[in-house]
Symmetry: D2
Subunit: 341 residues, 4 copies
């Protein structure tokens, strides 16, 4: 079987495994004070262009979203998200389980439009009864989105401007951050992204690590006692070194960006291949996830030899499926797929 | 520096790293349905003597406690624990953050006595106003306890009997389970422990894994949709293989028990060494954690060359410190310590 | 000023005050075990045609919704509601504050359509990833709705049938229940409504009481220890008699239905008056709330002499306002309004 | 039967009922903006000597405690209370249900000693692992306590000083505040109490009202959007006038203090009566609750004719019972009791 169903199907990038083996016997302090975590934080501060940044390592994305959002909201506040946002759709109520509503707004190709946000906020504060309602306390977006699409610098700036005006932090879910930044469709660098939000995370799990996400508060203004809240949410690893070391490896010699760039390039080839074979794209994704509309028979036929993700049924005779690439997507794998398309 | 401060200072047992490397490029399904997790579950079911058991892998201990307890209690219930229980003392309110009170009862050397539990329950139900109070909904104990001590089979049976009488599940936190089962002070096997409780977990993080705990419902009666609650608590790893594979390795050729037995034997040597040198033990632990009372000067002197855990100040001139052993505690390390004592 | 802004602007129906004065010096047990609460429960059981019903008195509607929903859902479940449902829109996140998501579906004139519910449930369970999502655990509707509209017996039966099929309780918010049941537009009796849902409440605050709502579990299957959950949510009054006595009065000699019927009749006159004067209704409400579209100048002019509720701006030149009637809406008041229209 | 079991057995002080009847037909705005609430707030500001105070009316004590505490704590914080504190013992986990731990410290006669608090805080911050623990975020005490005892001005000042030093607000539960302030054992006035804490509430339910508590933030620094949090906790009455009017009545012509003073005087007579009859007091309460040790036969005999509260069994042959007085405790009732003692 050819595996294209996601970007977390294999273990870790070999360089990460090498570093784990190399450091295995060194004794280190627990809970994130180990030398590798210290070093990784320093490298990330440099990469994001904010020497004052606070950086924390968390084991998974849902956990990170839950932790960041619940620690930054007051009890009367909720988080604004596109309807398709991961926190609204696919985290089993992780945000609500901490007592906060997700204020879901319609989006476009997975993106929250500045105009939609502005109109919502104006209507909210214009409503006489708004103090009987959940206050919008922060804004959540993902980069790339759940549909592989990207905010332009102008779009992100517009959202950030509205957030500032209303005193709401802007949080960027970067579960696949690298695939966004290294995309030919991106007009943003990592430091620029850091400037245009209040908190974001650099996804590791889906970009070559065994597990791990790095939360970054660029201005160094993490919520008070964020460490204790990590512990309270069950998100503190005794062997914090496991996360720290992987991010240290990812931010050594640009490994994170090389992994991401390679995967995006392979996705580009895949997209070209799909178009050449006459398939219709569901939407135009410039990142490592490609969504294609297949006739049902073709989808069924492919299923015998390729593992892909079912996305949705756009009509009775077609199926939208997702193909994803990663550091493990070789040219051989792509050619094998081509033969089947 | 000599490291004796805990049992999670190094990476993983080399066999685990070997297996991670060996399987790294194999594509697997995410979220715990991978072949390694499937295999590990099967091996654990055999080891606990319950082919019908439900087994889940979670990344850390606090997370496991939070998840198990919050998914088994009804809103009007709390969890009974010894005052010294990890859930009461050192988890930053993880249980309360899910809406449940920890009903803390006095213990003895870290253990909850059956008599204490029985008296509490009788008084609770005898109180006319008990429906204005938090109902005791389950009982939490740790094996070994936070003080390295062990419940005997008789003690565990007594607790279990009371729990059954009152319809409360008994939950055993086994963050260091192996060190208990392989202790010369233990009169319990793993299947016997499984018979004497309703849910427990097999700690990996502190017994040779990079991270990971295996929750076991021996009777196969995990709460409905436990998977979704794992997701909701942010405890579901995309690369579930990372946990599954480690437990597969730990439960192949008795690795878990060999690691535990070795560490307990080294702790026995350490204890003998301490006694020979004339030091007083704070309490008599038969497991891999040893607590010793040091004169303050000796504690200060040792600190130059040995990393240990500060435990408490029993009086003005003495300090209780903890030494812990693990798979990484070699005879050389012990001899080096002997020279300093 | 003429008051038409809501149905809770005055104190209580005089008969309720009379009963409060009459019984004031009688000593009674606290927390709902008083003789008046006991009697009121019995009368309500008769009125709903379920001698086995469990009945509890709560001080307000949001509190009742929060309590019923949070006590009936499991942690992985949310409550389905129309977007316009009170629990979704105007309770400041009361449901989410207990850890549960409101699964908001589009409605029609404030009503949740059976077809919408069915389609949502089918899509949910057909989704491979549904165990990463919040499970629909119960359905919330209001009768009358927030727009004064009513479900027909057929509509309610359809919703109830779907709920039964999926094992979800159906909860009816009856903050204004009497105005629904006594409406000429209703084809449901109270016992029929009780048969077609799993739990509902009989609103007192908006139907003549000082405060108070009566939660009814028609089949006598209130969640275990519901009393303790009332206490936990801060919803237990020490002087439970205050609620019990009011419901005893309301369910003596059909007072509840007489109050409701009178208000609905006055609303009918008001509606007729509005139509005669050539105003356009925003929607056709058969209950005590009437929604009318006013030219902005007329709305401004009226505002000088009448207190009404602003509802929304349908376009640049018009305003939708709400007029509500209650036991305190006399013919004189209506005639005074007519003069101003 | 003679009723001495509590101070909430009857309805309301007649003056309150009179005012309810008198104002019943006046239309008022909902949700606490009515003229009576506005007036009551002003009178309370004067009575507490803080014209800048924020005042809110809530329907019950547990609800008030839950609301104040949950709105003032951050997620990593808990509330410190004596073990016997109402929030720890008899509120069914209301505080924990909002995600916060009650940090229970041993008390003396129901009081939290300054020395106990200081020692706890010093030990907490001295503990290397304190960031793995729940931070003490505020202090809760009751005045009078659950045992009818009172803090002296010196004791309250000492607690307040410690709270200030550690940046923790001090919250005084005044469910029976009047009975404390009007006690011959009190050396505190209401303005002095307001000066020595950060937030407190003036209990109405147990001091002559049908229901209602007035939360006071003396410095006018209520948490942002406290109104919305009242709504979210289900604690906002549509007919806020019901609470406002009662407090307006209670703070007109010192009614609150007259009710309290009368009850305390009757309790003094009762205490004298008990001592004259040779009964032993369980503890020396200067307020409206009296605790007496009865031989079991006497307790059983009295039970035939007197309703009292069972408190505890101090030994096999005795029972501690509570007698409480209120505005409804007449001299005739006391004399009837005397005949039975």
């Amino acid at each position: 079987m050819l595996h294209f169903e996601n970007d977390y199907g294999e273990g870790a990038h070999p360089e990460i495994l090498r570093r784990l083996a190399e450091t295995n016997l060194v004794s280190q302090t627990g809970y994130g004070d180990d030398a590798y975590s210290v070093s990784a934080r320093e490298k990330i501060r440099k990469a994001v262009g904010h020497p004052e940044a606070d950086v924390y390592f968390i084991s998974g994305g849902t956990q990170t979203n839950q932790l960041v959002i619940s620690s930054m909201l007051r009890p009367y506040e909720g988080v604004v998200s596109a309807v398709t946002g991961h926190v609204n759709a696919h985290e089993a109520g992780a945000i609500e389980s901490t007592g906060h509503k997700v204020l879901a707004l319609p989006g476009k190709d997975g993106k929250l439009q500045a105009e939609t946000l502005r109109a919502f906020l104006e209507a909210f504060y214009a409503d006489d009864a708004h103090d009987h309602m959940v206050f919008p306390g922060m804004v959540y977006i993902s980069y790339p989105t759940e549909y592989g699409t990207l905010y332009s610098k102008a779009e992100l700036s517009a959202l950030h401007g509205i957030c500032k005006k209303y005193g709401m932090p802007l949080f960027v879910d970067g579960a696949r951050l690298g695939y966004g930044l290294m995309s030919p469709g991106a007009d943003l660098t990592l430091p620029e992204l850091a400037d245009l939000c209040d908190v974001f995370y650099i996804g590791g799990t889906k970009v070559g690590a065994l597990l791990g996400e790095a939360v970054v508060f660029p201005k160094g203004d993490a919520p008070a006692h964020f460490f204790t809240m990590i512990k309270q949410r069950g998100a503190l690893l005794a062997k914090g070194r496991v996360l720290g070391l992987q991010f240290d490896a990812l931010f050594t010699d640009d490994l994170y960006f090389r992994i991401s760039g390679d995967a995006v390039r392979q996705a580009g080839k895949l997209k070209k291949m799909l178009l050449e074979k006459g398939y219709e794209l569901f939407l135009d994704s410039p990142t490592n996830q490609q969504f294609v509309v297949l006739p049902d028979e073709k989808a069924a036929e492919l299923k015998e030899k390729v593992v892909y993700s079912f996305w949705e049924k756009p009509d009775e005779n077609h199926t939208v499926v997702r193909f994803a690439t990663s550091w493990a997507t070789t040219d051989e794998k792509l050619e094998a797929l081509r033969a089947l398309l």
